[in-house]
Subunit: 453 residues, 2 copies
């Protein structure tokens, strides 16, 4: 069967961002949700199979090693990504598997093993979303009196990535021989202790497992601060980011691509992927009604507590329908908060002069990510606009609730993107690197060996 | 169909100990082995499905966070157990999944999450083999100048187990409500920060995931030193151990059960599981030939290096067919070696006055575990003898090579054990605790709440 060709050149990336209960904070209450199955692996395996049937690039799990506050009214527990994705790998064959893990609270040797293993057992579908973990509750779970500073976390992250990169490269691709006749199992001249000695880590290596199908997992990153951007430009192959407007996303896109290029990297090898939370209806009015139905399920006391976590400001007592004064933010700052999320709220207040209720609704929708409300055509238009205007290379799809919120996107929006030649009809590769159009990196030790030969 | 009854009371436990390439050090070279599939998850999923078809209790993976020496001639890399078992969980429904992880080189919060997740996604089939990691190469991968002392490792292990136990208990069983109608997601009065402050760890908690089906994974332990035994008697629900004779195993069995009982525990809730490596032939001569065929594949240079790792003594140059002098051991000691493995070699030399070749063959067979060579009836006799004489509650089956070495055991030995009423015809439970006949522990916080009510 002949398909209209995907346009040559850039290829739209679409990931499914899986969040237990959905990305709207009350999504788990929405009719058709299955809150009784939130710990049932088959529920997530089914979801990943649906994403694979829609030919999406990857599924993605966020993470943080702490129980955050406000669990009373929202599904804010965590599924451990490495184990969960390994079980999903077993139920799928093509879709990429991106898990988040913290450079602040993991040991590089342990983390290198987990991702190498996920890449092996999935046949080359692993991605690592590199985070430094700002959530203040985490430090207390790891013996620290307080969260390390932003700068300190990023310094550790950079060294961490250097260490695990060397570990993933420490077996050259052809080190494993396994020749029964001669009895040679491995060519140990191609297995390299990494002998890393740095400010944060001393790691001898080598890794205790052969090199994985992709060589290394795909490096994903999500920081939007200055430190985060320069880190991403240096290391990331895909960047998850939150933008409320196409202009903000365009500026971010241009900045990252320019920084990557100035470091000698191909800008095509850094995919910019904003989040988008689609509220889909067959008419604009129906979509708007859907959005309002979900917002009607919000518990304001919960939302005000969440807003306090992001901004440090307690709006308890402020009337829901009164405008949020910009003044309220002037003495506050992102001391203990995620800097980029704090700024995002300030920008909304500055730009839109919203009521407290409107701020709450906006954040409830997708924690500060872009909320798109409309018909399938309108959502597809929006995606195309961002893609063609170099505001995005693709998107993290953040369904307000599961499964319905995703099923609507897969059945209504994806076919439009496909008809417009923006999205693949079928996979052309087997690995996540192939889906993203990224090269497979050679081991640094193989390169060294050639240089000295 | 009526089956002969399994005898009332004690139930034989059988685990499959999966070791890439087989437990004989040259097993990966044996005809029918698949060294080209050692990193192929479907190979291990198939193996686990076969073990499940034979109604075994569990599959088990050893582990250590380091690349050990002597990989040139033996399949001595590692599969990361948590990810690997998660993918195996997805391909099976009943069999237990026991993975090894180190208390010396993991953070308790990270490890608690991984095992809770494995228990969730497998429907209650997780077991944790608690090790303190003696292998000297590991410390250098975690920034340590040397391996912590035996006493220090066990002190940390005890505190580590206390911490993760509290983390696994930190959500009471009924804390997750997920009631869409009322909007109550979790009863946060039943989620408990653990506020642990100890010599090795400060961990606030709570865990960030609801309590798992088994409450906690089954606690398994493998130490045979004095520290190891008292640790096991206090915490372990199953003990993996290595014995060359039924008398040695009986003494160990009696000691552990007595220690457990003196701590107020039921001796039935500590399963003693020695390793057994079966070389099965339809006649004794055929079994012996099989054993010799595998030993003929050994590379002596490799084996002498291995013996040096265990004993600290270099036998290079000692004629293979000359007796090993007991004198050689008098100035050596288990300084950097695993104490119990060192002693095991000394005992063999003392008892059997073997040649160097014989010592090498013995260790090649199963790294010091019991090697049983004979017909299926003879292997079954041996298992029955150990079981009925309280030398074992069951066994870790250590096939010399895969898959053939296991398939023979499953098809030839298991049916005999079943006919003799020693082993189950089918699973009667769904969780590993149920297979082992262990109770499901209540959360310590639920107990506290009742006590203060």
């Amino acid at each position: 069967m002949a398909h209209p060709q995907t346009r040559p050149g850039r290829q739209l990336v679409l990931n499914l961002f899986i969040y237990p209960g959905g990305h709207h904070e009350a999504g788990w209450r929405y009719p058709g949700s299955s809150p009784e199955r939130l710990l049932d692996i088959s529920y997530y395996q089914d979801l990943a199979r649906s994403a694979e049937a829609a030919k999406l690039d990857a599924v993605f799990f966020a993470d943080g090693p702490a129980q955050v506050d406000n669990i009373r009214y929202a599904s804010r527990f965590r599924l451990e990504p490495l184990t969960w994705l390994s079980a999903i790998a077993a139920a799928t064959t093509r879709i990429g598997l991106i898990g988040t893990a913290s450079t602040t609270y993991y040991e590089p040797y342990n983390l290198a093993r987990l991702y190498a293993s996920l890449d092996h057992l999935s046949g080359g579908r692993a991605g690592w979303n590199i985070v430094t973990t700002a959530v203040p509750q985490a430090s207390g779970n790891f013996g620290l009196a307080e969260t390390p500073s932003h700068a300190e976390r990023y310094a550790r992250a950079a060294e961490f990535v250097d260490v695990v990169t060397k570990l993933w490269d420490s077996w050259e691709d052809d080190a494993l021989v396994a020749d029964a006749a001669s009895g040679l199992f491995a060519d140990d001249t191609k297995i390299h202790p990494i002998e890393h000695v740095g400010r944060h880590f001393r790691v001898k290596g080598a890794l205790n497992t052969p090199r994985s199908p992709q060589g290394r997992p795909v490096y994903v990153q999500a920081g939007s601060s200055d430190d985060g951007r320069s880190f991403a430009a240096r290391y990331a192959e895909a960047i998850f980011t939150a933008h409320q407007t196409v202009d903000s996303a365009k500026a971010f896109y241009a900045d990252i691509k320019r920084q990557a290029e100035s470091l000698g990297r191909s800008p095509d090898h850094v995919k910019i992927l904003p989040g988008i939370s689609p509220y889909i209806g067959s008419t604009e009015a129906e979509a708007q009604r859907l959005y309002e139905e979900l917002n009607d399920l919000i518990q304001p006391a919960y939302s005000i507590a969440q807003l306090k976590q992001i901004t440090g400001i307690d709006f308890t007592g402020h009337p829901l329908n009164a405008e949020v004064p910009l003044d309220a933010f002037k003495d506050a700052g992102p001391a203990k908060q995620v800097a980029s999320r704090f700024q995002l709220v300030v920008d909304i207040v500055k730009r839109e002069k919203p009521t407290l209720r409107q701020v709450i609704d906006r954040l409830a929708g997708a924690r500060g990510h872009y909320v798109a409300v409309g018909t399938p055509e309108r959502i597809a238009d929006e995606i195309q606009l961002w893609f063609e205007n170099k505001a995005a290379d693709g998107f993290n799809i953040m369904p307000p609730w599961f499964r319905g919120g995703f099923d609507l996107f897969a059945s209504e929006v994806v076919p439009i993107l496909r008809r417009r030649g923006l999205f693949r009809h079928d996979y052309t590769g087997r690995t996540l690197r192939e889906h993203y159009g990224l090269p497979r990196p050679e081991s640094v030790y193989a390169t060294e060996a050639r240089a000295t030969a």
